[in-house]
């Protein structure tokens, strides 16, 4: 005889606490993340609007204040958004729509998820402040966003292409005005790709050459000092 198996129900699986699924979560207008109200109180003029879609809160903020807002969310004892999970951008096919830059923040202590968005109107400069000084994880995320969308993150220590090669001249692939196959003909693309030296793909920093600056020969020191990046 074996005792009947009784599963331990805890958290959202416990009785009376329905698990969050598309059936019982409203598409729009669910409960707001408490951080949104805190943001409204703290940065009254900078918060443009708050959307709740599928229980996820999106806060639209002003470009000029986004760095302060994210820094405050990261450091405030009541918020503690200590994990930056993504930085990306959204461009709509409708040219009238603004291009959005998105930060996904997660608060591990409070189990909260918050999406911060900045809208860049058509024709406005594609420039937003970098949050690299708040989250070191923003380094590569912002580089990818720069590579794919051409958005400049001011204050980033090393903003250059990360997925495409550094000599890539065709533009920013995820922009809506970018043709799927690229701007150049296939033979020209191949010619440019083959012209690259495969051993010059890494910057001096990535190869730890800069770390050994004192032990470098004089010509290498001069090359590093002159800001040479790709070894070409």
């Amino acid at each position: 005889m074996t005792a009947p198996f009784t599963p331990v129900l805890a958290g959202s699986a416990a009785s009376g606490d329905a698990p969050a699924s598309p059936r019982n979560v409203p598409h729009r207008g669910g409960p707001e993340n408490p951080s949104a109200a805190a943001l409204r109180a703290q940065f009254a003029g900078a918060i443009q609007r708050v959307d709740v879609v599928w229980n996820e809160t999106t806060v639209y903020v002003q470009v000029s204040r986004v760095h302060d807002i994210i820094a405050w969310l990261a450091t405030d004892a009541e918020q503690q958004y200590n994990y930056l999970s993504d930085v990306t951008a959204v461009e709509y096919r409708d040219g009238e729509q603004p291009l959005q830059v998105v930060w996904h923040l997660r608060s591990l202590p409070f189990r909260r998820f918050l999406r911060i968005k900045v809208e860049l109107a058509p024709g406005a400069a594609l420039e937003v402040p970098s949050v690299w000084d708040v989250y070191k994880a923003a380094d590569w995320l912002e580089r990818e966003c720069f590579d794919m969308f051409g958005i400049t993150f001011s204050g980033h220590p090393d903003l250059r292409r990360i997925l495409m090669w550094e000599q890539y001249r065709e533009g920013y692939p995820l922009r809506k005005d970018f043709p799927l196959r690229g701007r150049f003909s296939r033979s020209e693309q191949l010619r440019q790709a083959l012209a690259a030296n495969p051993e010059a793909r890494y910057s001096m920093e990535e190869l730890s050459i800069v770390d050994a600056f004192d032990e470098l020969p004089a010509d290498m020191r001069a090359r590093v000092k002159s800001g040479e990046r790709t070894g070409e």
Partner: protein, 208 residues
């Protein structure tokens, strides 16, 4: 001829009438037979085809049956480059360099739809077939091809090797790319090879 009783270990004999240890053949046949049955592959796996390639090399499909159990991760000791998976433009100079580092005789198998044609990745980042970068001997279709498919391609390559003539030295000539453009084949041919076919949507380009 018949069997002769084996002499004792201390007896050294030479009997030209007994031909048991001799055979006559064409030198071509012997060289090609040994080459075809000890192809050392250089695996260049970039995507899901590499998983099928690993399955081919593992015990169930057992590439060792073809003398290929020794994966050569150095191009200098490799005979056949197996490109398994899509090759982005960023990797184009890398695979070109690996091919150039391989010693003659050398062959290339393009494994899978992406390596052969670019496959579904008809976009800004992916090379439309590695035959625009390096010469290819055997194309294995499939997305990804099953290990049986790869083995069929390998057997086709073995058949090709067995038909080679040692006297024909042009087979071993190293192809030099055009020094100006670094391309093996004319740009117009590349553009034509890269044109989408089937029901792919035709796009406008800005030229150049």
């Amino acid at each position: 001829m018949g069997l002769t009783p084996r002499p004792g270990d201390d007896v050294v004999s030479y009997n030209p009438g007994s031909q048991e240890s001799f055979m006559t053949t064409r030198l071509d046949f012997l060289v090609n037979w040994s080459r075809a049955n000890s192809l050392w592959p250089m695996p260049f796996g970039t995507a899901c085809c590499a998983i099928e390639f690993m399955a081919s090399a593992a015990s169930k499909f057992d590439l060792a049956r073809f003398g290929m159990e020794r994966m050569s991760f150095s191009p200098r000791q490799a005979d056949v480059l197996i490109c398994a998976g899509r090759v982005p433009f960023k990797l184009a100079p890398v695979i070109r360099r690996i091919y150039q580092q391989m010693m003659q005789p050398k062959w290339v198998i393009s494994m899978g739809a992406c390596a052969s044609t670019g496959g579904m990745f008809d976009n800004y980042a992916v090379v439309q077939g590695i035959d625009t970068i390096i010469p290819v001997d055997v194309y294995v279709p499939g997305c990804p091809p099953r290990p049986e498919g790869l083995m069929y391609g390998i057997m086709m390559l073995q058949k090709k090797i067995k038909n080679e003539r040692a006297a024909d030295t042009s087979l071993r000539d190293e192809m030099e790319p055009d020094p100006k453009s670094q391309l093996y084949i004319p740009p117009t041919a590349i553009d034509e090879l890269s044109e989408p076919f089937g029901n792919a949507v035709h796009q406008t380009r800005s030229g150049l």
